[in-house]
Amino acid sequence: MTESFLKRYSFDIVANDFIAAGKGSSTIKNLLKSMGIEANLIRKIAITSYEAEINIVIHSYGGQLHCDLYEDKIVIVSQDTGPGIKDVELALTEGYSTATESVRELGFGAGMGLPNMMKYSDDFEITSSSDGTVIKITILL
């Protein structure tokens, strides 16, 4: 953490809970709104954090979504407990998806999650192993 780090907000995300999915991102969005951050930036943060949250729900055994506030940026950190992404490069390709039919019926699994996160972030980092996936999405203020 650098000197400009201010605060971390964390949310537990439960695997396969499609009713609660999005609550964490909704809370983050309202929080940033109350801080007076510009609407366009909030939208970018909300989209990336929501995609990350949905990914934890769909693909992992569960995890956490963090929103780290810095003086000059917001970093969304998504951390899950596995099973990890077999081929990260392939997963970053638009339209590539390993989602099941039941997930697709819910409107997700179009293979746009990671590409969307990249599209809306100023910096995007992903590491994945069988122990889990960590995604860091930076949006400059």
């Binding site: 939208r43 409107g107 179009a110």
Partner: protein, 117 residues
């Protein structure tokens, strides 16, 4: 396009209405895939979808899209309506198919969103 006008054109039921006097929706985006909505839609557009669950409202919320139109006779359940209310999202439902719905909206002046806008 005003909400009431949209409802008339589509013979749609207005399930929640948070529109203001100056609400005038000029663009629409239609999809059952929420990630595509997140990739392409913008905040001032109408979301047209045949997907009927809470994630539709969550998606609209993240994008600040104020109006959601359910097609193909989908009647959103109580929880979906409640989530829409919490987020001040106007919800309409029409029996028309997505194709026919979009066609009627375009014929009445609504525009689509180009991905390179």
């Amino acid at each position: 396009m005003k909400i009431k006008e949209m409802a008339e054109i589509l013979n749609a039921e207005i399930l929640t209405d948070f529109s203001k006097d100056d609400t005038d929706i000029k663009h629409g985006f239609a999809s059952d895939l929420m990630s595509d909505v997140l990739a392409y839609a913008n905040s001032e557009s109408l979301l047209v979808t045949g997907l009927n669950n809470g994630q539709v409202i969550r998606t609209a919320e993240m994008l600040d899209m104020c109006t959601v139109l359910f097609v193909r006779g989908k009647q959103p359940c109580k929880e979906v309506i409640e989530l829409a209310r919490e987020n001040s999202i106007t919800v309409l439902a029409t029996n028309y198919t997505m194709f026919k719905t979009c066609g009627k909206l375009v014929l009445n002046g609504m525009k689509g969103i180009e991905s390179d806008d």
